[in-house]
Symmetry: C2
Subunit: 471 residues, 2 copies
């Protein structure tokens, strides 16, 4: 082992020296910089990169990749560090490319409802700019990630039921390939049948196939009228079957969020609210004034038929309070046990299986004695557990791991997926084979074709096949 | 050349003999069968396959691919033969897999709004079945293709502006790889962040990466209320700028079709209608009763502000007449010159460039003296020319080719695409390099990884790089 590690360090040292001579002070090996790039918001164990390059433009990415490709050194793209599955943790060391300074909004196409942004532009920065034009970008994961990070993880969030995920809202990309070549995919046409869908190949590839430099995204007009509603239901089955009916009736709801009783309690405490402690739907309606009123009427009838209560509002202040409370759910969960950490995970199942999947999961949580409130983007069949744990408590972590692994197995048995929106990163790698079978071999073939030296975010997404470990 | 051709025939003969012994009478070398599979609805020159396998299930596809892989013989999937760019023409001979008998609807998920179908199910067959459940499949290319064919070409059509294309409406696939391995991609969850997007890689790959056996598709609830409208506008710029305003205002129109004056005249003659002969929009509105009324009011105001006339209707008979006239546009164009053939082509541009692109194209058509009415799914920036030509008239075909090539160049210069929905097939191969640059090399890498022997629909989509011709 020692000679291999020595050889690795030699390669890395040569790459860092070369990069310092090319990029000067933008390359840092200071401890503070390394530590800042050793973790994301997940429970996964941090690991230090060997150096951090603060990229100011695509030329820096190209330079870094050419150098790292020559020397066979890992490259890890880093945006805002808000990931939940350890996707940016440099578990094999290497050079982290910090893209936060690539934060220019390059073009806002008001007529075409599209924008082109550098990878480091944050969601809040983009929406601040778009608001002035009467536009918004709807994909809304709850935190404030970079758009590059959102493309990389195929991010999603509360609005996806109406507006789609990053898969549907990414029109084109500029990426840098492993060897430093620049590739433009897609374009500004709304649709194309011209060849293989390279854009979608890079969306969700978590930095393992290329580094994203810019993205052209679809944006949307701000709706004329917005209303929100809170629905309290007697049990989970009633809540989910009400949602199924809303979807089937084609009511174009913008947001359909479910909170279980434990999460409602946490949110009440954290955000000083007084919702009844029971399964609760947070809804949002977008449209013209009459259309929204019609949607609210239809939804009210459905909720009442499921013996629930609905309160609705068009007041911006009320809506802001509601969605802030929803977006603070992670902190609200954490505050239930002072000093604890959170471990957020997500799965997605066909909506017909959702009530059963959530009920069985809740029963498992109770049996296992862990604290794990549930929230979900239930219009998509997607839900989250947030384990509130003390990571040093070995028994508790084992219990949480058990609940987690059974959750994934349950979702896969229901023809669902091991992650609806957080990505594979480190935390879901072991489940990819069960989910995709032979597909994982095809993914490995694609990885080998595009990154033959395996330098792009190594050790993420795909487990190396046996016999292919670093030699 | 002769020894190479002899070697090819020897390989093919061995493959056909082997398939006949495995699949019996499902393998045909009758002239009628070969001729039936030598063409699609395009202007491209037919070519005969060496044999046709009438596949009755995925096992037949597997058997055919194993045999053809062993012997290095081309395999061409064939659905309904409604393609417009020659995608199914066996230009290098080989074995055509006719999938029409794989026409079972395997599952209708009413709660989940999804279906699983075999590749040979036709669009009309699927919608006949879904209608009974209050559902429909919105992707609507105008002809009656198979769903497998629609997946292969990333098909689209009149409803895409509201409901998306095959890219957005395909949830998962079962495909057979070049070597006969079966691969399941995606699943039934509405969204997933679990690994590379293999589903989207096969959607639009035109039979060059795998053969599609089954598809799981998203379906939609039939809208409560449907209205349609015909808007007559003074010129193309007014028509397109009205559309831009509708899109920007977020009016959720289901269909936004543009016909130029020449096409309106053709449609009037063919379908016995009396629309004013000027640039015309056909619109469709889906929603609740009040929501649709609100949409119609908003659109009426926009059209009037652009000095146009709008007539609307909710009568099913009127709507049917309208959309039949639209779907018969190709035949209407053809009827303008008795005995002529049609050559339909499409491009897609950012909507801000659409009016300029169409105007310049119309001017070019007039200068060139060809007959080529225009229709378009303008909500997406997608439009079609239908050349009405006599293919034996060399001068006329040269003039049409000039208009065609300049149309594509114009679309690409506007950051558009050489095809929005017809696919590359044979007709757009020469433009792929201009559109995607370095991306074509990446496509070739993917093709080489998944089909190293190059047996899957060879000679389509990707021009072989120099030096890689059959040796």
């Amino acid at each position: 082992m020692a000679p291999i590690e020595g050889e690795r360090l030699g390669r890395t040292e040569r790459a860092v020296a070369e990069l310092k001579s090319r990029l000067g002070s933008r390359v840092s090996t200071e401890t503070a910089a390394l530590e800042e790039h050793s973790r994301d918001e997940s429970h996964h164990r941090p690991a230090l990169p060997d150096a951090v390059v603060a990229c100011t433009g695509i030329d820096d990415i190209v330079a870094a990749l050419k150098t790292c490709h020559t020397h066979g050194v890992p490259v890890i793209p880093f945006g805002a560090g808000t990931g939940l599955e350890g996707g940016v943790i440099p578990i094999q060391g290497g050079i982290t490319l910090d893209l936060a300074a690539m934060n220019r909004i390059l073009r806002v196409g008001v007529e075409d409802l599209d924008v082109t942004v550098e990878a480091g532009v944050t969601l809040s920065q983009l929406n601040a700019r778009l608001g002035g034009e009467g536009l918004f970008f709807p994909v809304d994961p709850g935190s404030d990630p970079t758009l590059g990070g959102m493309v990389s993880t195929r991010a999603s969030g509360t609005n996806a039921v109406r507006y789609g995920t990053m898969r549907e809202n990414t029109l084109g990309l500029t990426v840098v390939l492993a060897n430093g070549d620049v590739l433009k995919t897609g374009g500004r046409a709304r649709k194309s049948a011209a060849g293989y869908d390279l854009t979608r190949l890079f969306v969700g590839s978590e930095g393992t196939l290329a580094v994203i430099a810019t993205a052209t995204l679809r944006v949307w007009g701000l709706p004329e009228e917005v209303a929100a509603a809170v629905c309290s239901l007697a049990d989970l089955h009633q809540a989910v079957s009400a949602v199924i009916e809303m979807i089937q009736r084609g009511i174009p709801l913008a947001r359909i969020e479910l909170l279980d009783d434990v999460m409602v309690d946490a949110v009440n405490r954290f955000s000083q609210l007084e919702y009844p402690v029971c399964p609760t739907l947070f809804l949002e309606f977008h449209g013209g004034r009459h259309g929204v009123a019609e949607q609210v009427d239809e939804v009210t009838a459905i909720v009442q038929a499921h013996r629930g209560q609905l309160e609705w509002t068009t007041s911006p202040a009320d809506r802001k309070r509601l969605w802030q409370a929803r977006h603070h759910a992670l902190y609200a969960a954490k505050a239930l046990r002072p000093g604890a950490s959170t471990w957020a995970t997500d799965v997605c199942v066909p909506i017909s299986a959702l009530a059963t999947c959530i009920s069985q999961t809740k029963a498992d949580i109770e049996r296992s004695g862990v604290l794990a409130p549930i929230v979900g983007h239930v219009g998509d069949g997607n839900f989250h557990l947030t384990f509130v744990v003390f990571p040093d408590d070995i028994a508790e972590m084992a219990a949480a791991t058990g609940v987690h692994d059974r959750l994934v197995a349950r979702a896969l048995a229901m023809d669902g997926t091991c992650t609806g929106e957080h990505g594979v990163g480190l935390g879901k790698m072991s489940f990819l084979e069960s989910e995709h079978g032979r597909g994982v071999d095809v993914m490995r073939q694609l990885k080998a074709a595009l990154d033959p030296k395996g330098i792009l975010n190594p050790g993420k997404v795909l487990v190396q096949p046996r016999g292919a470990e670093e030699s």
